[in-house]
Symmetry: C2
Subunit: 294 residues, 2 copies
């Protein structure tokens, strides 16, 4: 087992129980709503955003337990966004992480509500954490910005507008990826750093690191959609292509897309390296994002 | 102009500009998403939850400006819940406040995203406010609880399960109303009190006051659906009845429903009166909720 695998195991050991405990038990009159929430949260995600959050916390000298509420909140926000994105009126996906999507199992209405409840709970988890309240307020502010209409939701909206329309150019595609994926990756690293007690400048650098990696991650996703096999993806390969969606490989070709992805990764690694040896996992995580496509 | 009208004018004078300023301008690539957000927020709501928030703040000796972020956040949460509740997969309503519903104007996908963004922004507004951060954390915690799966979203889920099913009994209906409406009314008064610097016991009493009024408000809504005219409602009268939805008048009759509503109001007024003369607007607001049905 290599260093990164060991770190990811340590992260999972603190994250998974906390994720489960953050959600109400599926009992009583609201059992089905709470089942729907758990179905998507506990559905075998790779927990990449929490991993970046934990690694950022360690990079600034913090301990894992300090970053748990932020890691939980980030995964709840990510999960809600998947549940809503998969809805028939949005991307209309039947399969996610190799299982039927939330609305295929629980119906559209409950999927909307489960997503709403997960998003709401994310802020409750952050606000209800132990520790310095001004730090919590900073985390909530950053998460709300990254997840809101000027961040993730804005990226998703632009993605919708772009769908099917010919002539999505590279700046627009980069804007979509930067907002839809980069913003929450940036917040993951920023919130982890804040949990570990980083100063304002360090928080900015971590957010910049995360945003670069988020864009690289999305290019890797585009590449996987072109070249990956469905088992690895947990969804149908070539789906973006068959929908006529703009992707990096479609606009730039495979080689140039890989080159840009690696350039983003290199820039990100430079930032991470500045944090010294404690940032080792952060650097390894950045490389892992790229490796997914090898 | 009576005392309540003057208070409501003073509230509107601080709330409306703050609501507008809390939302991004509808310009640039994301113009349509931000238009969709503004369409529902600035769509002529009665601002009842903010009014209770302001009145609760005044009842404990606070000044209006202190309660503005909470009042804005509450109205954003209320608005998002309307946008999502109106969706075709939910209540499927075409008309809201006398205008086409959000998804009729902007489409289902953008209505989902606009709702998501409004909910997210609510927490951003609270977290980004001035003042004591431990107070802001308490407000965010309370709002997340009231709006989440054990509060408003849970009530909406139960309402969905109950729809069309025969035999919704009074305890279930009360549970739905208490969660779907009472929870956010309770939070409105609690957040207003917290903004004004109330202690823990006072916050609890204000939340209890709000929960009672929220239930009374919902019974008043049920009564309006039976007896009101569409112009006053801003939506089709008799819609709940024609859908076979359980309502207080259907389960208890008009007279007994009115009696219970007035009893709730009386209990609430007792709590408000304990706060002394500064709670005058709070008491008048409680009566106003009942009067809507006269």
């Amino acid at each position: 087992m290599d260093t990164l695998e060991r770190a990811l195991e340590a992260y999972a050991a603190v994250l998974e129980p906390a994720l489960g405990a953050s959600l109400p038990e599926p009992i009583g009159q609201l059992a089905r709503l709470h089942e729907a929430m758990r179905y998507s949260v506990m559905g075998g995600g790779k927990r990449i955003r929490p991993a970046f959050c934990f690694a950022a916390c360690e990079a600034v000298g913090g301990d894992l337990p300090q970053a748990v509420p932020a890691a939980v909140a980030l995964e709840l926000v990510h999960t809600y966004s998947l549940v809503h994105d998969d809805l028939p009126c949005m991307d209309d996906d039947d399969l996610r992480r190799g299982r039927p999507t939330n609305h295929k199992v629980y119906g559209d209405a409950l999927a909307v509500l489960a997503g709403d409840a997960l998003l709401t709970r994310a802020f409750g988890v952050l606000a209800g954490a132990d520790g310095d309240s001004s730090r919590r307020v900073a985390q909530i502010t950053a998460l709300a910005e990254a997840a809101g209409s000027l961040g993730m939701v804005g990226g998703q909206a632009l993605d919708l507008f772009a769908e099917g329309s010919e002539g999505v150019d590279l700046p627009t595609l980069q804007y979509i990826h930067t907002h839809k994926t980069g913003a929450l990756f940036g917040a993951s690293c920023r919130l982890g750093g804040l949990a570990g007690g980083v100063d304002a400048d360090g928080a900015e650098r971590l957010a910049r690191f995360g945003a670069l990696i988020g864009l690289a991650f999305q290019i890797a996703d585009d590449l996987l959609d072109e070249t990956g096999d469905p088992a690895e993806l947990g969804k149908a390969a070539g789906k973006d292509r068959s929908r006529g969606k703009a992707t990096y490989p479609r606009l730039l070709g495979l080689d140039e897309s890989r080159r840009r992805m690696e350039e983003l990764d290199r820039k990100a690694e430079e930032i991470a390296t500045d944090f010294g040896p404690r940032a080792e996992t952060l650097v390894r995580l950045a490389r892992f994002v790229i490796r997914r496509n090898r």
